[in-house]
Symmetry: C2
Subunit: 702 residues, 2 copies
């Protein structure tokens, strides 16, 4: 990708097609920005009505440009775009950035226009960003390209930024500028007709000026590809993303906005989790995290020391840190002893270390010196609320001096520093990010800590169990042959068994007498369910009776069920199924759902109310590794129920894990399922009791 | 309170004791600020070493001041404070603001110093703010008092602000100034030796310049008082509070900081909920909400329209609104039809209404005009991301013009407006608050919506059931007489029954034969539990057997339990209790816990895993009204389990509500409980099945 995208991000010559000198027009702002940024190559304005644009000679068409052209920026009306692209092709241009809108984002006709444009690119072997985009930036000193039409010339930095929304791109560039944050590369990818965010990610991976990647996403073109690429890049260059369309209505808005199918949010979360991408909710958080990552190392652990000159902010910081899962070990007795010699007795020698309002540079230095090499902390947060009596610069200098060279993560908080930002600027210039409020620091540290865990995690293995694929196929084909799209009961159990998933067997009976015989065969106690006629909400309608312990109870139940089944319709037959009652276990639910963007998602949760009311389930995109299966089980909130609640024995997790992996394999082997539910799968400490009790497969239409 | 605090907040003459001319000293900054704010009364610096301070004649002692003095600000070293206060008393000063630190916040000796100072105040009938505070402000044009030592002269506004931390007070004042937010009154209350936040609240209630009250709190001196006062004020003047010390460690830090007992956070949440105080987590949110309330009405409902010129921010807004519980009804067909005539066909005519990037003032006006009187919306959010081609001021003017006079709540979002804030200033000046990110708007609206619900809620009644108090007292006294601090089993059930709480009766048996006799008496099925010897975690140890359906099963169970009880110790006797098995209901848990700050808290939740793993419980401070009891039940996440889950009948909520109210009455009648647990209380649609099965009372030591 590096070579293919080089003419776009590192061009030696640019043509701006649709360049203009009218203020407020995109064509003028674009050329203005290119000149203002002091582009290190040559610029050729193209405008049929003007021989000079912005004091530079302009050409009627790109074909008239006397030099070769690497990159063309196209800003003309939508109906002319294809012809301009064709001319670029003739000229031998390598890459296009198409700013013009009115393509697939506006419906069917626009989509057609876009495909025609793409065809021209393919014909001439050109790569294209856009259409309907905000432009691109590369601040590398040997390039200095700002081909956007915003008001801002971005600062140089080591952050790559990919945005799917031009408006968000501009808003984010402006906001970054106010925060003093710089970029290496910015790419507004618009409709992604040719070049996708995955391509740009790939390019940024190799870009020596990019250390961190920010993304604003509305959908995924190819989630599998994204996962593959992002998973690799995340190991060395952290990726932080805002993915909008989180709620259903938001996703609908995203969908009408982009013309793409919006993904279920669980899919997005799973995808980010599996690929190590840090997801944030808001643009503010995006920058909070970027500011930390661009200046500080990822902390080695969760243990934080807070050093403050004011109680209130110290408490706020503590609240926020603890509720975000951080730890705050107390100061060591040695440190306390040392500090008590030199710091006001009115200080609070704990964590937060509150040095009280009189504290200035000297006190910060003493305290920070005492803890900066203390192995009980991974991160240090100096908090300073500037009283009028204290010299802020002196405090900033002492913080910097003390912490220079430490390998801990340092994030500072200057609350209400008001109109004297020199001290803050000083710290930022010395690679210590400064936040206004401690809550942002806590959230940032929590996200970094989570990322560190991801980095440290063994990558996991895909498993291949020995299965009877032919048997499963036979069941599926037989259902299709009968014109049925749903496989339940005994047939469903057969599929599970073919894939080595333990399941409780079935016996059928069509009256009370047969039921007793079946129960005698299975062994007591048994569960009895009405099999036919079909009943909705069987449990509520009394179509299920559990814990039948004797032949007499089974007989009574059989008669009662026949009564409850009511009058049969023509051709209907009364039958019940009997299963061995599995006692003492915990009901879990496993399943598969097909997401339109992400393909099969594997699901795990506890049964009944947990899944239906509490929505306490975990999802992963298929295929899953053994590590991911393990995490799926451990990441539900009700996990303590499985791991040994109030002295009960922990259930056999291995069998749950293997069942999820077998389910994953089943879905890899067959692409005909639209839904799978194993509900319940009994989890128990006793491996022989761990069994699927019921399952349901819904097939896709053929 | 108004009259007593008037000399402090509306003084006609002030003495500044410890006034100084040395830059950076508190005594200098204080007098500097008083002069700078153009205090409308007289100022008398007091300084024994200087006859002039800041160009004003200074006096050696307050007694030398030729005029009468309403308010004295004391800034001298801690050891001189008492003497200065005494002189103020002699002089006839009415109120003190003691800035000096070194009192109860620094431990025992300081506490003593504080009590001596307070005694002086009492002796002379003076009221005091502080010690250890940051000062006070009253921006009323006829007062213009800024008796703080910060860098800021606060703007005039209609917000009252009470802070328990001087540092947070200064930080918040600075931040407000940057946001252009003004105050009516500011009070830093320090150690609250005399005047508490409750007193100031009371004063602000009557202050004609105060419409909204902000609080930064670390603890509550008198929560009952706070509830009483805040509940009243909240009806007319919204109160927004940051209460720090939310986590246990945070509370510990707060406690070491303030020397006060920190409250459980559930208590704080309950208190705010019950008194209508809006709780926010961060200082940023405090101002987000304050900005909305100071310029806009509380929305009448949850229905929001979003009008945007950019898709991305529209989606972010939708996500944030929906996930904060807001609703976004689509545009009416009529509106869509009307707008389609005049707005670009590329727009998305839904909600969010995305007018696409070309939209300017005209489009905003058209769209807002079309929906501003539409009864399907309670709030409107115009979002504008300024493209370079559009005139921001024109957009702002059109938004303002269109929405002038609408009764809906308007909160605008200008993303990345960059260095051209005139449009934003214009809107703010015309009472439309402007936010940078849509998420802040969503959170703010959600909080306002919740407050509206609180305001609309009937206030609820305290109930008095006819109970047999004497019977309950007899059980309690008998336990005390035996030296027992725990009441369980039959005795516990007796207390419940005395208070009209339905409970399942007990039968005892000391062997299998007696057990069968007891079961025959109760009726099958029964539950059997080992009563003695006492067993920890009875359920896990097999000390409980349920659903015994026949005499044979009871006999077997009795023998098995005797075996499980194992070898008895000297003096121990084997007994079991039998109860009627209550089938088919849902286990709930009700209880009381005593919070050191808030007194008894009433608790409700579902039983077992819900309470122990999911922590899905609700708390209210005692006493509770019938409305509060109802809310307690409905506010747990697992409420759908009670209200009819998957077609099951909803349980009888009235009996749950009454049981909570009876529990509340019991705790009002007796102050001897340290803990009460009713676990489980069976909830069912069948009222005769709604019963407490087990209860435990822990008594306080006498």
């Amino acid at each position: 990708m590096r070579k293919e995208l080089a003419p776009i991000f590192r061009p030696r010559s640019i043509a701006v097609i649709g360049a203009s000198t009218t203020r407020g027009k995109i064509g003028r702002e674009m050329i203005h920005n290119i000149l203002l940024a002091e582009f290190q190559g040559k610029v050729f304005p193209v405008n049929p009505n003007s021989s000079v644009v912005h004091s530079i000679k302009a050409y009627s068409t790109v074909l008239d440009v006397p030099d070769s052209v690497d990159l063309a920026i196209i800003i003309v009306a939508k109906k002319h775009v294809r012809e301009m692209a064709r001319q670029c092709g003739e000229k031998g241009v390598k890459g296009l950035v198409v700013i013009s809108a009115g393509f697939s984002e506006v419906g069917k006709e626009g989509k057609k226009r876009e495909l025609e444009l793409l065809a021209v690119c393919h014909e001439y072997g050109m790569r294209m960003i856009g259409p309907n985009c905000f432009g691109i930036v590369n601040t590398s000193p040997d390039v200095r390209l700002n081909a956007t039409f915003g008001k801002i010339n971005p600062k140089i930095g080591r952050i790559g930024f990919i945005t799917q929304s031009g408006a968000m791109g501009e808003a984010i560039m402006n906001h970054a500028n106010e925060l003093g944050i710089g970029f290496s590369i910015i790419a507004s990818i618009g409709n992604k007709a040719d070049i996708s965010s995955n391509d740009i990610l790939d390019y940024m991976q190799d870009d020596p000026n990019t250390d961190i990647i920010l993304m604003y996403l509305e959908n995924f073109g190819n989630p599998q590809n994204f996962t593959r690429i992002a998973r690799k890049i995340s190991r060395t260059k952290p990726i932080i993303a805002v993915k909008s369309g989180r709620t259903k209505l938001g996703a609908m808005a995203a969908s009408s906005h982009t013309g793409a199918l919006a993904g279920l949010d669980v899919g997005v979360d799973a995808l980010f989790e599996q690929s190590g991408v840090m997801r944030v909710d808001t643009v503010e958080e995006l920058f909070d995290v970027a500011a930390a990552l661009s200046k500080q190392p990822i902390p080695k652990g969760n243990r934080v020391a807070v050093v403050t000159n004011a109680g209130g902010p110290g408490i706020l910081a503590t609240d926020a840190l603890i509720s975000n899962g951080m730890e705050m070990p107390p100061l060591s007795p040695g440190t306390v002893k040392k500090l008590k010699k030199s710091i006001s007795a009115e200080a609070s020698f704990s964590n937060p270390m509150d040095m009280v309002a009189g504290a200035g540079g000297r006190e910060f230095k003493l305290t920070l010196d005492a803890i900066k090499n203390d192995s009980r902390y991974d991160a240090i947060i100096p908090i300073f609320v500037p009283p009028v009596t204290i010299d802020q610069m002196d405090v900033a200098r002492n913080i910097q001096e003390s912490l220079e060279g430490t390998d801990k993560t340092i994030l500072a908080c200057f609350m209400g520093a008001g109109e004297k930002p020199e001290a803050i600027e000083f710290l930022k210039d010395h690679n210590i990010p400064v936040y206004i409020f401690p809550e942002a620091i806590a959230k940032t540290l929590a996200l970094l800590a989570e990322h560190r865990e991801w980095l440290n995690k063994p990558s996991g293995k895909y498993r291949n169990f020995k299965v009877d694929k032919a048997e499963a196929e036979a069941v599926i084909e037989s259902a299709y042959a009968k014109g049925e799209l749903s496989i339940v009961g005994e047939e469903a159990i057969k599929i599970l068994q073919a894939y080595g998933i333990p399941a409780v067997g079935y016996e059928y009976a069509s009256n009370a007498k047969e039921a007793v015989a079946a129960a005698d065969k299975i062994g007591y106690p048994v569960v009895m369910k009405i099999n036919s006629p079909p009943m909705l909400h069987k449990t509520e309608a009394g179509g299920v009776m559990v814990d039948l312990r004797t032949a007499a109870e089974v007989r009574a139940a059989g008669n009662e069920m026949e009564r409850r089944a009511g009058k049969l319709k023509e051709g209907e037959k009364f039958t019940v199924v009997l299963q061995k009652m599995v006692a003492g276990g915990i009901e879990t639910v496993m399943g598969v759902t097909i997401d339109p963007s992400f393909g099969p998602l594997i699901m795990f949760g506890l049964g009944g109310i947990y899944v239906e009311v509490m929505k306490d389930v975990s999802f992963r995109i298929n295929p899953i590794t053994d590590m991911e299966a393990r995490e799926m089980i451990r990441s539900i909130k009700s996990y303590p129920v499985l791991s040994g609640f109030r002295g009960s024995k922990p259930v056999n997790e291995k069998i749950l894990q293997d069942t999820l992996l077998k389910l994953s394999q089943l879905v890899r082997d067959f692409d005909c399922f639209s839904e799978i539910d194993i509900n319940p799968f009994i989890a128990s400490a006793d491996i022989s009791a761990c069994k699927a009790v019921d399952a349901r497969f819904i097939l896709l239409k053929r």
